[in-house]
Amino acid sequence: MADQQAEAVAGGKPPIRLGERFEIYPDRPLAELRSPNAAGFVAIDRDRPTASVFGLVCDADLPPRHEVMQALHGMRAEALLTPYEWGVIDWPATARRHFSIIFERPTGGRLVQSLTQTIAPKHEDELIHHVLPPLVASLRDLFAAGLTHRAIRPTNLFWRDAAHRTLAFGECVSAPPAALQPIAYETIESGMAMPAGRGNGTSSEDLYALGATIVFLLFGRSPTAAVSDEQLLAEKIGRGSYYALLAGQRLNGAIVEALRGLLTDDPRERWNVQDLEMWLEGRRLSPKQPALIKRAQRPFEFAGHAFYTARGVGYAFSRDPASAVRTLKAQDFEIWMQRSLCDDERSKTLTAALAEGHDTGLTGHDERMVARVCIALDPAAPIRYKGFSAAIDGFGAALVCAFRGRGSVQQIAEAMGGRLPQFWFSVQAGLKPELVPILKSFERLRLHLEDRRPGFGIERIVYEMNPKQHCLSPVIEADYVIEAGDVLAALERASEKRTGDDFQIDRHLAAFIAARYRNAGQDWYDALNSADPAHRVLGALYLLTRLQGFKGPSSVPALAQRLGRQLPLVIDRYHNRERRARLKAELPKVVAKGNLGDLLSFVDNAAERVRDLQGFHQAVRDYAMIDRELELLRREVPRRPERAAELGQRYAATTASFLAWLIALSVIVLMG
C-alpha cells in the first residue's frame, strides 16, 4: 500500500490540505522517510514555510496509535520524532481517504534502510558519549508520560544532523505498538505474539529493543540477520536473548554490562531507564549474569524435540495444538511436571488449566484447553490459541488487523468467548493496577460478544477496544470515518455512487454507531435484528434520523432515495388501503427533500398509526358483526317457509279481523 501510494504519483498535482496549517504534496514522495506501512511525502508548514516537515500517509489496514499521538503532541523530546499534526485526508492516488501525520523532517536521513544493510561499527565511547545520552533522555521523557515507543530498531533511527553525530528515534504512532518490529528487537514474550497483537507493553520492552539496537550499532550489522524468526525465538528461549542476539560473537568492554542488563530475559531483572542513565554517567556495576531458568532434571519429549523448561514446552504446545491435546490427555506430562520440573507453582496452575472448562460443549474445547495449559506453563507469554497469539493489551489491534485480512476473527472471538483472557489474569502472580481495567473490560466485552444482534458481536468489540478505529463497514471504509457524526455524510457520498442498491445497515456500521454514539438509544438493535424487512428498514431510518439530528447534514437526498425504495414496506404496515395509496403517492416528494426526520414522520407518524389502528379494530368488529348476521341469515334459510307460514297466517288472521270489523260497521251504518 505504501509503495502503491508512492508510485501512484503524477506531476503537477495540487497539494492536499491537512488541517489549516499543513499541505502534503502527493507528487513529491520521500522514499527514505517512508515507513513499512506509510508512504512519506514532502509537506510544508504554511505558518512556518522555512520549517522542514514531512507527511506520512498511513495504510488503512493498521490502526494508528491515537492516544500516543495526542500525548506526544505536546512533548518536545530531543531525540524523538513527534507528530505536529494528524488527521484524515482525501488521497486521489488511491481514490480513498487515509490517515496522515506530519512530523519534523530529520536532516540526516535514516540510519539504515534494512537490517541486512551494514554500517561502520560504532565505538563504545561514541555510543556512550554521543549517541545514547539523547536517546535515553528522550526515552525517560516518554516513560515519564506513561508511554512506550515500541518501534525501536535500527531501521527506525534517524540522524538528526547532517554530520551524522546524533541519532533520534523514528515515529512510533503510525502502526500498532511493535507491529513492525523484527523478532530480534522484541522480548521473548512479545516476540511470541503476532505482530499486531504485541500490545503497548512496558518501558522494559523498549529498553530491551534499545539493547538489541546497541548490538547492531556495535557490530555495524545485525548478527542475526540470516537467522529466521522462528529459529531466533527458539534460540532466545533455549539460550537466552543475550547469547542469541550475539549469535556467537564476542563483546568486550564496559558496554557488555549495559547489554546484559538490557537484554536479560527476566523483566524484573532488566535494567530500567534510571539504571541506564546512571551507567551512562559513569557508575559501573558488576556485569549481570543471566538469571537461571528452572530446568527439569530430565527432558520432556514432544514432537521430536527435548524440552527442559516450562516456557519451552508451552511454546512447542502452542505451535502444535493437535499433538498437545494427545499429550495432555495422557498422564506423562503431569508426572514430568511434578517429578522432573519440580515447580509447584506451575503444577498448580497446570491442574487449574486442565480442570477449567467454562466452555464445555462449544467447539474448540481441546484447543482452548491447550491455550490454558500454555498460559499456565508460561504466564508472561501472550495468549496463544490455534494460530492466534496476542498480549493481553494487544487484542484490540489484533482484531482490527484480523478484520483487514491479517489473521482470523473467528479465533479471536473463540479465545474471548472461551474466557482465555480471564484465565490469563487468574494465573498472574501479581495483578498490576493498570491491568485491572483491562480485566473488567474483557468481562464486559464478553457480554457484547454473546449478543448476536447487529450493534453487538465481535464487530462491537473492535470499536470498544479501539476507541479511534475508523469504521470498517464496506460501505464507508474508504471514507475513513472515525466519529459517529461523520457517518451520515459518508453514507450520502456512498449512496451517490450506488443509487441502484437497497440500503442496509451492516454489522460493522451498527457496531460502530453503537460504540461511538451511545445517545442513539437501544431500541434499534432489535429492529435491525428483526426478520421483518419493514421493521429493519424502519429501525435503520430511526437510527439515521438520530444521526442526522446529531451532526447533520440536514439533507441527504441520495441516501433518502435508497431508503425510499424500501419504505413502501413500512407504509404497508398501515392497514388502511387508501392511506397506503396516498402515502405512496406522496413519498417521492418527501424523499426528494432528503430530510430523514421528515421522511420518518411521514411514513411512521404516531397519530396516524393510532388512528389507523383504531379504524382497523373497528373494521374488524364490524366485519365480525356482518359475518355473524350473514351466518344467521344462512341458518334461517331452511326455516324460512315455516316462519313465512306462521307470519302469513298471523297476517291473514289480523287482516280478516280488520275486514270483519270494517264490514260490520259498514252494515250497521247502512242498515241503521
Partner: protein, 192 residues
Amino acid sequence: MARTTSTAKAPGKPRTAGAPPARPGAAKPGTAKPGTAKPGAAKPRRGKNSGSAVITLTVIAITVLALTALPLCILLVTGLLPTGVAVLVDRHRRRYLARTVGAMNLAGVIPGALRMWEAGITFTSLQQIVGSPYSWLIMYGAAGMGWVLYFCVPPVVAMVIEVRDDETKRRLENRSKLLIEEWGEEVTGKPR
C-alpha cells in the same frame, strides 16, 4: 277440540309470550319445582280448562239463545258452520285458521242477523233469510274469503321475506366487501 294439557305452571313464573308449545306429556302435573324449571323444558301453556271453559260458555250461550231467540240461534248456528269446521280442522296452537275464517264468517252473518232483528226474531223472518240464496252467498262467501286469505297470504309473505332477506344479504356482503377493500384481508381475522 281444544288442545290443552294439564297445567304445569311453575309458581311465580309468568307464561312466556310466543313460547313454542310443549310436547304433550312433556311436563307431568306436579313435577315442576319452583325456580328449577328450565326455559323450554316445561313451558307454561294454555290450560285444558280454559278451552273447556270456552266450549262450556259457547254451549251455555247457544242454549240460552235457543231458549230466548230460537230463530236467531238457528240462523247463527247454520251461518257459522264454516267457522265450526275451521275450528275443528285448525291444529295450530294460535288457531289462525279459525280466527281468519271466523272473523270473515261473522262479518257475513251480521247482515242476516240485523235483518232478522229489524223484521223481528221469528221463524217467518228466518224463513225469508234462509230462503234467500244471497244470504247464504254472503255468509258462506265471507267465510270462503277467510279461507282464501288464510291460504293466500302466507305465500305472499314468504315471497316478501325472501326478497327482504336477499336484500339484507346483498347489503351485508357489499359492506363486508367494502371493508376488505378498505382494510385488506386482515380485517376478516383470517390469516392471509
